[in-house]
C-alpha cells in the first residue's frame, strides 16, 4: 500500500517517543502508581469481602478448641442433619443427572425449532429466588395448596417432610447438569454418532459406547456443581421443611437454628463442613475445567 504519511509524523515520531513516554507514560499500560493503587484496591476488596468471612467461619468454629468442635459435629442432631443433606443431595443429583443426559441428547443431536426457547425454560430455576422456589411447592402441596386436600386424604406428607424438600432441591438444581452437557455435546457434533449408526449400532449402544465416554468430564463437572448447590441450598428448603428438629433439618437449616439459639460454636462447626465442601468443589471444578479445555474436539484437518 503506498500511502504517504504526514511528513512531520514520519520524521518526528522515532525521535520523540522516549520523551513522550517519560512525560505521558507508556500508553500500553497504566502508570506505576495507578497500577499499585488498582492492585491494592482489588486485594483489599476481595480480602474484606471474601477472605475474611471465610476465615471467620473457621475461627468461630474452633474458638472453643478442637474438642468442642468435634463434639458439636458428633451431636445426634448434627449427624441426622448430615445424613439428611447427603440423602437429599444424592437423590436430587442422580435424577437431575439422568435428566441432564436425556435433555442434552435431545437438544444437541437434533435440529428443531424452539431450541433456544427450550434451553431458556431449562434455565428458569436459575432466575428464581430460592424462597420463591420453595413457595411454589407450598402453593401446590400445602394445606391450602392445589393438591393439599388430595394429599391429606391419602395420608401423604410431601411438605414438612423429606419428599417436599427433595422436590424443592431438585427445582433449584435442575439446570446444572444439562447446562454443562448441552454446549459440550453440541460442540462435539453428531459425526461420531452417525458413524456408529452406519456401523450398525442401535441408539442405546451409540449413546453408551460413543457419546457418554466423550462427555465424561462434562458429566463430572455438572454433577459436581449440582451437588454443591444441592447440599448448600437454604432458602427453598427452609420454606418447605417446617424446621422439625432431628427430622427435617438439613445442614444449612441446622446452621440457622443453632445460630439463632446462640450456639455459635456448633453453628459454625457445621458451617465449616459446608465451607470445606465449597472449597473442595472449587478445587475440583478448576481441575475439571482444565480437562474440559483439553478435551475440546479439534477438527481433523
Amino acid at each position: 500500500m503506498t500511502m504517504e504519511l504526514p511528513h512531520s509524523f514520519s520524521i518526528a515520531y522515532p525521535k520523540e517517543t522516549p520523551r513522550l513516554s517519560a512525560r505521558h507514560g507508556d500508553p500500553r499500560t497504566e502508570p506505576k502508581a495507578v497500577r499499585i493503587a488498582i492492585i491494592g484496591l482489588a486485594v483489599a476488596f476481595l480480602g474484606v469481602f471474601v477472605v475474611l468471612p471465610l476465615v471467620v467461619v473457621f475461627a468461630q468454629a474452633f474458638s472453643k478448641g478442637i474438642s468442642a468442635y468435634v463434639a458439636a459435629l458428633g451431636n445426634p442432631e448434627a449427624l441426622s442433619a448430615i445424613r439428611l443433606t447427603i440423602l437429599i443431595a444424592a437423590i436430587s443429583v442422580s435424577l437431575n443427572l439422568v435428566f441432564g443426559l436425556v435433555a442434552a441428547w435431545a437438544v444437541a443431536k437434533f435440529e428443531f425449532r424452539g431450541k433456544t426457547f427450550l434451553v431458556t425454560l431449562i434455565d428458569l430455576p436459575f432466575s428464581v429466588s430460592p424462597v420463591i422456589s420453595g413457595l411454589v411447592f407450598v402453593l401446590l402441596f400445602g394445606a391450602q395448596g392445589y393438591f393439599g386436600p388430595w394429599l391429606a386424604s391419602h395420608n401423604i406428607r410431601l411438605l414438612f417432610a423429606v419428599p417436599g424438600m427433595t422436590l424443592a432441591t431438585m427445582f433449584v438444581t435442575f439446570p446444572f447438569v444439562a447446562r454443562a452437557l448441552i454446549p459440550l455435546m453440541q460442540e462435539q457434533g453428531t459425526q461420531e454418532e452417525e458413524a456408529a449408526i452406519s456401523l450398525g449400532a442401535s441408539g442405546l449402544q451409540t449413546f453408551f459406547r460413543v457419546t457418554l465416554p466423550n462427555v465424561k468430564w462434562g458429566v463430572l463437572y455438572g454433577v459436581l456443581l449440582c451437588n454443591a448447590r444441592a447440599m448448600g441450598e437454604f432458602g427453598a428448603v427452609s420454606v418447605v421443611s417446617g424446621h422439625i428438629r432431628g427430622e427435617t433439618n438439613t445442614m444449612p437449616l441446622l446452621v440457622e437454628i443453632l445460630y439463632n439459639e446462640y450456639q455459635f460454636v456448633a453453628s459454625f462447626a457445621i458451617a465449616s463442613l459446608l465451607a470445606m465442601l465449597a472449597l473442595v468443589t472449587l478445587i475440583a471444578k478448576t481441575v475439571l475445567e482444565r480437562h474440559l479445555d483439553e478435551g475440546k474436539p479439534s477438527h481433523d484437518h
Binding site: 471467620v56 430460592p130 413457595l135 472449597l279
Partner: protein
C-alpha cells in the same frame, strides 16, 4: 412405492428423549411455576394492587430492589477494578485471588450469612472498628447492603473477565500510535468494548441480590419497614398462612427477574453485533 411420509432424523431417540425432557421439565419446573401464576390470578386486580402497595410490602420491595441495585453498582466499579488487576497485572498471589472470586458463588448462603453477621456484628472483627467510627453495620440496612455486595462479586468479575482477556492488544497499540494517552485509551477504546459485558454483569448481580435470602437474613435487622427484604416478607406471610399476599409479592419479584433475564439476553445479542467473535 415406499412411504416417506414422516420426516425422519438420522440418529434415533428424538421422540423419547424429547418427550422425557418435556415431561420432566413440566413436572419439576413449569407446573410449579404455573401454579404460582394461577394462584395470583385468583386475586382480583384490586386485591393484587392493595397487597403490593401496602406499606410494609412497598418498603420490603424498596429495600430489596434499592439495596440490590446499589450493591450491584458497587460491584460494577469494584468488580471492574478487580478483574482489571487479575487480568492485566502480575502480582504475588494473583492466581489465588482469581480462584477465590468464585467463593461467594460456591459457598452455601446460610454459611455466608452467619459469617458476615459475625464479622460485622458490633463485637465482630470488622464490626468493632466500624462501631468506633460510629458506623453500625449488622442489623441495619447497611448490613443488607454488605451482604448483597458479597454475593454479587463473581457476577461482574466472571462476566467481564473473558471479554477483557480476549481484547486485542493491537487495538490499544493502534490507538497509542495515533497519539492517545493511556487514559484516553482506557476511556475511549477499552471500556466501550467492555460495556455489554459490564452491563450484563450488573444485571446478573442485581438479579441475584434481589432474590437473595440466606446470606442476608442473618445480618439484616429484619425489622418491618426498615430492614426487611422481600423474600423474608414472603416467608413471614407463608407462616401466617396469608398465601395470597405471599403469592402477590412473589409474582412481582418474578416478573422483574424475567425482565432482567430478557434484558440480559438482548445485551448479549447486542454484544455479538458490536463485537462478533472473529
Amino acid at each position: 412405492m415406499s412411504t416417506i411420509a414422516t420426516r425422519r432424523s438420522t440418529l434415533p431417540g428424538f421422540g423419547l428423549t424429547m418427550g422425557l425432557t418435556l415431561t420432566w421439565l413440566s413436572v419439576i419446573v413449569l407446573i410449579p411455576l404455573a401454579g404460582l401464576f394461577i394462584r395470583s390470578l385468583e386475586l382480583s386486580p384490586d386485591q393484587f394492587w392493595a397487597i403490593v402497595t401496602s406499606r410494609r410490602t412497598l418498603n420490603a420491595l424498596r429495600t430489596s430492589f434499592g439495596l440490590a441495585f446499589a450493591a450491584a453498582c458497587v460491584n460494577l466499579v469494584m468488580g471492574t477494578i478487580t478483574v482489571w488487576a487479575l487480568v492485566r497485572y502480575r502480582f504475588p498471589g494473583r492466581r489465588l485471588f482469581d480462584a477465590i472470586v468464585d467463593i461467594p458463588f460456591a459457598l452455601p448462603t446460610a454459611v455466608a450469612g452467619i459469617a458476615l453477621s459475625a464479622l460485622f456484628a458490633e463485637k465482630g472483627f470488622l464490626g468493632a472498628p466500624l462501631a468506633e467510627l460510629g458506623i453500625k453495620v449488622a442489623f441495619t440496612p447497611v448490613g443488607i447492603f454488605v451482604a448483597m455486595i458479597f454475593i454479587g462479586i463473581p457476577f461482574v468479575v466472571r462476566t467481564v473477565q473473558p471479554v477483557l482477556i480476549d481484547l486485542d492488544p493491537e487495538i490499544e497499540e493502534a490507538a497509542a500510535s495515533l497519539g492517545a494517552n493511556r487514559w484516553h485509551i482506557v476511556r475511549r477504546v477499552i471500556l466501550p468494548s467492555l460495556t455489554p459485558a459490564l452491563l450484563t454483569g450488573l444485571a446478573l448481580a442485581f438479579a441475584r441480590a434481589v432474590g437473595e435470602y440466606g446470606s442476608v437474613i442473618f445480618i439484616a435487622g429484619n425489622l418491618p419497614n426498615v430492614s426487611e427484604i422481600a423474600p423474608l416478607l414472603i416467608v413471614i406471610r407463608l407462616s401466617e398462612f396469608r398465601y395470597a399476599d405471599a403469592t402477590a409479592i412473589a409474582v412481582v419479584m418474578l416478573i422483574v427477574s424475567f425482565l432482567i433475564i430478557f434484558a440480559v439476553n438482548r445485551l448479549q445479542r447486542w454484544a455479538q453485533i458490536r463485537a462478533p467473535a472473529l
